[in-house]
């Protein structure tokens, strides 16, 4: 079993390499078509035409596009994405500094989305055939219509502005120190033994994680419910009833394992989108993650930074897909044994 999963993960990662190459090439091309000159942007406005030309040569911008791409690619493979135009620092190090905060937020949100999604799906299924069914169905569609950035604003308004219940700017109170060991604030606070920092960071995480969790759970909810509906039409459920199993045994022992498969497929797609959904939530809550950095970079046409962050998001999505695919194989014997 482990061997099969390991083989599959290896194969998926290998398959991701050409995808990443194409993705990076596309990214590079789109950004090179811009009517902005990276050379001019990296110099003070007082620079002369000759200085800009020199800079262009230095940056390799006078060579043909494929060659530029190969130079950029070989640099990128060495972790060198070039200097951020606005911050003047290595783009790679900027990404590395902000990525843990984003992973922490996305991880918390995925846990919440999974809990709400599975719980809600079971509840919706439990209410089938009752008067509540139509109501919950409409409600779940309405919930589906609130994207993460609306949830972010609504929660910010209700719990932050109106009720003053929870903080809504930054990752931790500004008057507390920010320990830096692994980069993950919650873990680092515990590592240095600052429970007050941990508590503050935790409270700061609640609203943004909740916004993402609430936005991505309705789809999981609805798929779990409809998968359960489908599974209950299968012969083996009827046959389990004819063997005298209780409804509880049928749901937990037979139906849920089968309904988990389509649910997992959708959750994989959802979690990929969720990871990038952190971007808006970070902007709304001024959360110091990769998303805020991206918006800064985009507004200032900071090409090296955009390339580095864009590629990081793609890698994250491909990794999430790999994990979900492996889980799918673990759960589905038809793919595991022939």
């Amino acid at each position: 079993m482990l061997v099969i999963v390991a083989k599959l993960v290896a194969r998926r990662l290998l398959a991701a390499v050409p995808i990443l190459l194409v993705v990076s090439a596309l990214l590079f091309c789109v950004l090179r078509l811009l009517p902005v000159d990276p050379a001019a942007m990296s110099l003070p406005t007082t620079a002369t035409i000759a200085e800009i030309e020199a800079k262009r040569r230095e940056m390799g911008l006078d060579r043909p596009l494929p060659e530029q791409y190969l130079i950029w690619l070989s640099d990128a493979l060495h972790g060198n994405f070039g200097r951020s135009i606005q911050f003047g620092r290595e783009a790679g190090s900027l990404v590395a500094a902000t990525l843990p905060a984003t992973i922490q937020l996305a991880g918390a949100a995925m846990v919440l989305a999974a809990i709400f999604g599975l719980g809600g799906g079971l509840l919706l299924f439990h209410l089938r055939g009752t008067w509540f069914e139509a109501v919950t169905d409409i409600v779940s569609i309405l919930l589906l219509s609130i994207p993460e950035f609306l949830w972010g604003l609504i929660l910010l308004f209700v719990f932050g502005v109106a009720l003053h219940a929870l903080p809504f700017t930054g990752a931790v109170s500004p008057n507390l120190p920010q320990p830096h060991v692994t980069g993950f604030l919650l873990i680092d606070a515990l590592l240095v033994g600052r429970l007050d920092v941990f508590a503050s960071a935790f409270r700061h995480l609640i609203l943004p994680a909740l916004a993402l969790g609430l936005a991505f759970s309705p789809a999981i909810m609805r798929v779990l419910r409809s998968s359960l509906f489908d599974v209950y039409h299968e012969d083996y459920i009827q046959q389990a009833r004819l063997r005298g199993l209780s409804e509880r045994q049928i749901l937990l022992g037979h139906a849920l394992k089968n309904a988990a498969l389509p649910t997992l497929t959708l959750a994989g797609v959802q979690f990929g989108i969720l990871f990038s959904g952190t971007l808006l939530v970070e902007v709304i809550y001024s959360y110091p993650g990769m998303g805020n950095l991206m918006v800064d970079a985009v507004r200032n046409a900071d090409l090296p930074l955009i390339e580095a962050i864009g590629l990081t998001y793609c890698v994250a999505v491909l990794l999430i897909n790999t994990v979900v695919d492996s889980l799918y194989v673990v759960l589905n014997p038809k793919l595991r044994v022939r």
């Binding site: 398959a15 299968e234 012969d235 083996y236 009827q238 063997r243 005298g244 037979h254 089968n258 038809k334």
Partner: protein
């Protein structure tokens, strides 16, 4: 004490505001250790009886009257918890479709373990031992390995054996088997039936055996009940009922079934079909009266009483005395002239499919069809028989050009049709047509009937006028013996038999010279099958086409075709005139196929079932 007794059991369905009885006042007695057969076509209400025992009726159905006593206790008034406690222990079920009746994500071992734990086996090891013992008793080799396998790794026959073992694991006193062999290949029927009979004898179990196959019921069952539209029309000892049928329906069904032995005769064609529940509301008197050859005015007036033919044989008919007079004429099948120049010639045809094994594995190929040669003469009906996966359907798809052969030639009327050129496609469209197995899939549900049957007239760049198409629709429907007003309907509004006629009509629109028919009567009820077989015989006489008739049903082949090709694992292992091949089969597979059919005579013994 009786194992099961039904007293005036009535199951009703809600249709709009009305309630219609789907089973009407059914009574029977089943003694321990006996097999009771419920026999009839689909819609007769057989399956509903099995579901009533478990009280798992489809939505809209309810038991409205009567009693169903299991060992003297009424299942209908019993507390649900008590009834559930009986299921799986005292009462067990063997399903119709074994491949889908096992949970695909659980191993066979896990499903046995769960069931045996419910039966009260405490220790995990004891459960494992018991599971291995039960699987071995069901003649499954390497039972230990089986426990770690998943249903998709097993064949249909193996799944059914595992399910039979599961059913008998609790030492049940009653087993309900609903068409347990219908979904399996023909050669799997005798061993599965033999296993059920063996288990039933060992455990002294009472069995309710639901089937559409009269010959099978005669062999397996002690008693039978023939059902029609929710009523028991005839009941008694199996061999007596089928040797001396007293109800016209039983007699007509027997005569509608092609024979495997004796002279070939025309089939009895019952008009129309079993009434649906909606139609049943409007039928007064005997339900069978609208289709009955012996009908009198009195039959329409009131429901017929139950009449005793002998002490154990009863019939629900007032004209039972005349039933034996229903008969069909013997028929001579003039052997079609075998022309020197065959119309269709297939030479050394092979088809290999590549099974890709991922990015790095080497590609393997399997031969679905291997070096097959045969001919079909003008106006000749040739049968292609074999089990599922033997390559029959691949041959059909190769002939019509849906697949390209790996090697070999297809020669039609002297011209080579092998290459997929536009010219060959056009030639094929005009002279070589195919009728697909499943009309549900073969008829576009969005096209009206008129548009389907004349679809050939809108192909390519030339379009026929609406009047031309309407005219041709009327001709085709008349030829199929269907009313013209059907033209505006959609396929979903037709019955299964009607759809299959439309399916045939579409292929005949441009009057092809050869028809490829892929299992076109399998899955249809006997009376509908008889209608279609008669239709095909008549159309051949009128239109003069040849046919490659693909089937797994040897009695149908014997009735319709003059020559037969037997296929086994992609190769034609035997071919020749039907009488010769069936009378003196040479290849072991042909022999196995032939012995899988129960004998015609209810009194005859079927060696495969009785053998130990």
């Amino acid at each position: 004490m009786l194992a099961l007794e039904a007293r005036d059991l009535t199951v009703s369905a809600r249709i709009g505001a009305a309630t219609v009885p789907a089973i009407r006042a059914l009574s029977f007695q089943l003694a321990p250790g006996k097999i009771l057969g419920l026999v009839g076509e689909s819609g007769a209400g057989k399956t509903m009886v099995g579901r009533a025992i478990a009280q798992l009726l489809p939505p809209g159905f309810a038991i409205t009257a009567g009693a169903l006593l299991f060992e003297g206790e009424d299942l209908l008034t019993m507390a649900p918890a008590r009834r559930r406690a009986l299921l799986g222990r005292a009462i067990a079920f063997i399903p119709q479709a074994p491949m889908t009746a096992l949970n695909p994500v659980l191993t066979i071992g896990a499903q046995f373990d769960e069931h045996l734990a419910r039966l009260g086996l405490k220790s995990r090891n004891a459960r494992r031992e018991r599971a291995i013992a039960m699987l071995t008793a069901a003649h499954l080799p390497r039972a230990e390995d089986l426990l770690t396998q998943y249903p998709h790794q097993l064949s249909g026959g193996m799944c059914q054996r595992a399910l039979i073992a599961l059913a008998f694991a609790g030492n049940p006193r009653l087993v309900v088997a609903d068409e347990p062999t219908t979904a399996l290949d023909v050669t799997m029927h005798p061993p599965i039936l033999h296993l059920i009979a063996e288990m039933q004898r060992q455990h002294g179990t009472a069995v309710i055996f639901i089937t559409h196959d009269l010959r099978l019921a005669a062999q397996l069952c002690d008693d039978v009940i023939v059902m029609y539209a929710g009523r028991a029309v005839e009941s008694g000892p199996a061999r007596t009922v089928f040797a001396t049928p007293a109800h016209p329906y039983t007699r007509c069904l027997q005569l509608a079934n092609p024979a495997m032995s004796a002279e070939r005769r025309t089939l009895y064609v019952l008009p129309d079909q079993m009434p649906s529940l909606v139609q049943l509301q409007h039928i007064a008197g005997c339900h069978f009266a609208p289709r009955c050859p012996l009908v009198t005015a009195e039959c329409h007036r009131e429901e017929p009483p139950q009449v005793a033919v002998t002490a154990v044989h009863t019939v629900t008919c007032i004209r039972a005395a005349d039933t034996f007079g229903i008969s069909t004429a013997g028929r001579s099948f003039g052997p079609p002239a075998l022309l020197e120049q065959p119309l269709l010639r297939v030479e050394n045809l092979s088809k290999h499919f590549a099974i890709s094994r991922g990015l790095f594995g080497a590609a393997r190929t399997v031969a679905a069809v291997n070096d097959v040669s045969f001919t079909i003469a003008e106006n000749e009906f040739v049968a292609l028989v074999g089990e599922s996966g033997s390559g029959k359907s691949t041959i059909a798809r190769l002939l019509v050009g849906l697949e390209q052969p790996s090697s070999g030639r297809i020669v039609f009327d002297g011209a080579d049709l092998t290459t997929p050129s536009l010219r060959n496609r056009t030639r094929r469209a005009a002279s070589l047509q195919m009728v697909f197995q499943d009309p549900q899939s073969a008829l576009n549900p969005r096209r009206p009937i008129a548009s389907i049957v004349t679809q050939a007239m809108e192909a390519g760049s030339r379009h026929a006028s609406a009047e031309d198409r309407l005219k041709r629709t009327k001709e085709l429907l008349a030829e199929m013996g269907m009313p013209a007003d059907i033209a505006a309907r959609l396929p979903g509004q037709l019955s299964g038999g009607q759809r299959q006629r439309i399916n045939i009509a579409r292929a005949l629109c441009r009057v092809p010279k050869v028809l490829i028919a892929d299992e076109i009567v399998s899955g249809l009820d006997v009376s509908i099958q008889a209608q279609l077989l008669s239709l095909l015989a008549r159309l051949r006489a009128e239109l003069g086409f040849a046919m490659l008739f693909i089937s797994h049903d040897l009695s149908v082949v014997r009735h319709l075709c003059s020559r037969v090709l037997v296929m086994y694992r992609g190769e034609i292992v035997e071919q020749g005139p039907v009488e010769e091949v069936f009378g003196n089969p040479q290849h072991p597979h042909t022999q196995a196929l032939l012995s899988s059919v129960p004998p015609d005579e209810p009194g005859a013994t079927w060696p495969l079932l009785r053998a130990n």
